[in-house]
């Protein structure tokens, strides 16, 4: 039989005989004749492992990957951080990779405890009390946060800062068609969200630092939430958490984020990791899985998915979220990477990103025809306006060996978003600035 089917022809025939059948086609007697696929699938015959690997490598070679030949200054929610060797070696052990959702806790303590530790570090990063066991990505975490807030407040309107990643806002808009939530776009003024004085939103959603890299004033956001009776939802960068005051300290009700920076390569955008944390008072509205500590019948410490009555398989049409499969393996990679960094390493990482960002920003702003998109302070990413359309700049800079950044859309007045991680050297930044000067001239 096929590549990964162990049965020999004799074994398959013997099993058919046990069933009183003579051919495999008889196994499908319940499928009406008219629906049977007569000629088989219109696909090529199976390939050997080396042939498949060669084909995959060929497609890989048709991409220009980031590295020495294409030095990455692009970010916008997908960052070129180092992934330490331990992540591949331990988080991707086959016991974690090939396990199912921990529905039988007695034989799933490994994944359950890793998720418990993940929930703990996410809560600590954001200064919150509870975190779930992961969602799909930053966008899905924003959608679920809006759903939680609308349900908690009974208000279907969400004020969404224009500083929130445009793709995440677009995903929120897609799903709001089903939930009936009204998303109100709140503009930026010089890189910071200008919250309206009055209104009745169920939630305020702000990114910290925001899409332009600017550090939002969370005191102002919290004040606007208090003023209007809304929940404060902060989409927070886990790397920035090494240096910035945590959203929890400003009174955030829900903190979400994109977990890619820890443990996950750029991966053409996925699988990434949706971070989701909240105050304990909202735990019964928490979307997705939650792991809790308990004991077994002998009183030994054990872990189990808990508050299960929130979830779709039990609540069915009354569930507030339909999440089942999440991103557990990516969550394990996240906690392994973060534990490797440790308390001092997290701060050092954030510091190194901030140093590189400042150095690059100053170098770029010295170029004639390069202007900042905002005067508001930044941390690990910044926007610049150029005399040449950003798409053209990115194309020409690729010829010079740089992925120059991510073009900013018309809603931001155009320009280029530039990210600098701990992997960028002074020499690379100098060379980037030199090349950019030629390109925008």
């Amino acid at each position: 039989m096929g590549h990964f089917v162990p049965h020999t022809d004799d074994e398959a025939a013997a099993m058919l005989g046990d069933l009183g059948l003579t051919s495999v086609d008889e196994l499908f007697s319940a499928v009406p004749e008219a629906l049977r696929l007569a000629g088989g699938l219109d696909l090529a015959p199976g390939m050997s492992e080396p042939d498949v690997l060669a084909r995959a490598a060929h497609l890989g070679d048709a991409n220009r990957r980031t590295g020495a030949e294409l030095v990455c200054f692009a970010g916008a929610g997908a960052y070129d951080h180092d992934v330490p060797s331990v992540v591949r070696r331990v988080a991707f052990r086959s016991e974690f990779v090939t396990a199912y959702t921990p529905y039988q806790p007695e034989v799933a303590q490994g994944v359950l405890q890793a998720l418990f530790e993940y929930q703990t570090v996410v809560s600590r990063l954001f200064g919150m009390e509870v975190a779930n066991a992961s969602l799909y990505d930053g966008a899905s975490a924003c959608v679920e946060a809006a759903n939680l807030a609308a349900s908690a407040t009974g208000r279907p309107t969400v004020w969404v800062s224009r500083g929130l990643h445009p793709h995440w806002r677009e995903v929120m808009g897609t799903f709001a068609v089903g939930t009936g939530h009204e998303l109100v776009d709140i503009p930026l003024v010089d890189g910071r969200t200008a919250w309206p004085e009055a209104g009745e939103p169920g939630a305020l959603l702000v990114q910290y630092p925001n899409y332009l890299g600017c550090i939002e004033d969370l005191r102002a956001a919290a004040a606007a939430a208090r003023r209007t009776g809304a929940l404060l939802v902060v989409a927070s960068d886990p790397v920035a958490a090494g240096l910035l005051r945590p959203p929890g300290s400003y009174g955030a009700d829900v903190v979400v984020g994109e977990g890619q920076p820890f443990g996950t390569p750029l991966s053409f955008g996925g699988p990434y990791l949706g971070l989701f944390a909240c105050r304990a008072e909202h735990v019964r509205r928490l979307p997705g899985r939650l792991v809790g500590e308990t004991v077994d019948v002998d009183g030994r410490r054990a872990y189990v998915t808990t508050l299960r009555t929130r979830e779709q398989d039990i609540r069915r049409e009354k569930a507030s979220s339909n999440v089942c499969t999440n991103q557990t393996l990516i969550a394990v990679a996240f906690v392994v990477h973060l534990a490797w960094l440790g308390t001092a390493g997290l701060r050092e990482l954030a510091l190194r990103c901030a140093r590189g960002t400042r150095y690059a920003r100053e170098a770029l702003l010295e170029i004639e025809g390069v202007e900042p998109v905002a005067a508001t302070p930044v941390l690990r990413e910044f926007g610049v306006r150029l005399r040449v359309p950003a798409e053209v700049v990115v194309e020409r800079m690729a010829e010079e060996g740089f992925l120059a950044g991510v073009p900013l859309g018309d809603e931001y007045g155009g320009g280029l978003l530039v990210a600098v991680t701990e992997r960028r050297t002074r020499a690379e930044i100098d060379a980037y600035a030199y090349a950019l000067e030629k390109v925008v001239r």
Binding site: A56, R93, A108, H167, S267, G269, G270, C324, L349
Partner: protein, 503 residues
Amino acid sequence: MTTAGGRATSAPLMGRDEEPTIFELSSPGRGAASFLTTSVPEWGAEELVAPEHLRTDPTPVVEVSERDLVAHFTRLSHRQYSVDLGAYPLGSCTMKYNPKLCDEVASLAGLADVHPSAPAALTQGWMELLVDLEQTLCRVTGMHAATLQPPAGAAGELTGLLLMRAWHRDTAGGRERRRVIIPDSAHGTNPASVTLGGYDVTTVPSDERGCVDVVALRERLDDDVAGIMLTNPNTLGLFEEDIVAIAGAVHEVGGLLYYDGANLNAILGVTRPGDMGFDIVHMNLHKTFAVPHGGGGPGAGPVAVSPRLAPYLPGPRPVRGDDGLFVWSQPERSIGRVHSWHGNALALARAWSYILANGGDGLRKVAEAAVLNANWLRVRLRGTYDIPYDRPSMHEFVASAAGLRRRSGLRAADVAKRLLEEGFHAPTVYFPLIVEEALMIEPTETESPQTLAALADALVSIAAGSADDAHEAPRTAPVRRVDEARAARRLVPTFDARSTGSG
């Protein structure tokens, strides 16, 4: 006992010593991190961040050496059952063997080190892979076009329902349809997705054969019905033989048919949802196409549609231009993005490589062996367990411990916990909801006849045991039965909540 032919059971291999949390291993001053030498000026934090934003105390994470970190997670992995250790006959989950060549593909630098916002000119290899996968999935399902963005099955369901909504909005002159029909045997994600899609759930009962009650379905059909969600084969492992009549009836009132691809493994190369009349199909690549389940994800849930729904697909989509180059294209009436980027790309690459390795011929053999294994096991367990719908099944079947419970007090949960002791993972229990004491068993095609025989022997011997003994199980697993009520009552969701028990 002979070992020839393999026997995938492994409980004795699992670690039974308690492992402290990583936070308890923490020791002040320890650390593992190191960084690239960059020669960037070493400004201090106070020079980089204004005081009102700067965190004064370091964010507490943990302080461990790399050696302790590796030991910790290695020990945790030993406390985890997995497909690589043994058979995992979880019904509806398709826990087949995950070929290692797919891991290699997902780790290729040419795929992993690509930024998702890079211009199309720099990512032609990825775009070709995605277009190739889309076309392949359409051929497997008999559909016209697909989106690869949904990152999981439930995300695919909601995407499909929003496609349904957008299509009705355009075709019905703005009149809303309010109801979506779901069988009483459906997965819980179906009704939850229907609610999030803005529809009301109408349940249709199963008939005595375990299939959709077509008479009851017709009674529920009118022009308020947006569509029906079906799994075929259904969650009892039975093929919906009346599917053509069902499709005709739903289409007659202007509704659409949604195919939940959870059980697609059973029909690969045998029949196709498109031929049955389905308009929207989601696939669980982490079931049918061997993307490893990762302890609960990441998966991938592409959605394929018939021609009339293609203009509504999420965008941007990769397409091949007239010049042979790949470009991003926004469908004319797109419902918008459903993912931050292009979906779980590396999971998509795994599925792509799995399909290449199998080919059209191999995929058909996957379905054949999956159905053969399930039927062989069903017949073998007949007489020991109740088989409420005892007729030829597809890739899975549902047994019941209801008789055992009456006779000896053994419940489905006891059978599950005893099976863990025997070195197998348990079947899905208490689902579908319409079967009392349900044991939903899906052996998958990758388990050998020898493993199946050992699994059958274990299930037969468990049924002969006493309930008192079974209540003690599992005794050989990393922990014994877990106090789930306590976990919910005294909630400890983080290490820091341990002292307080918040919530």
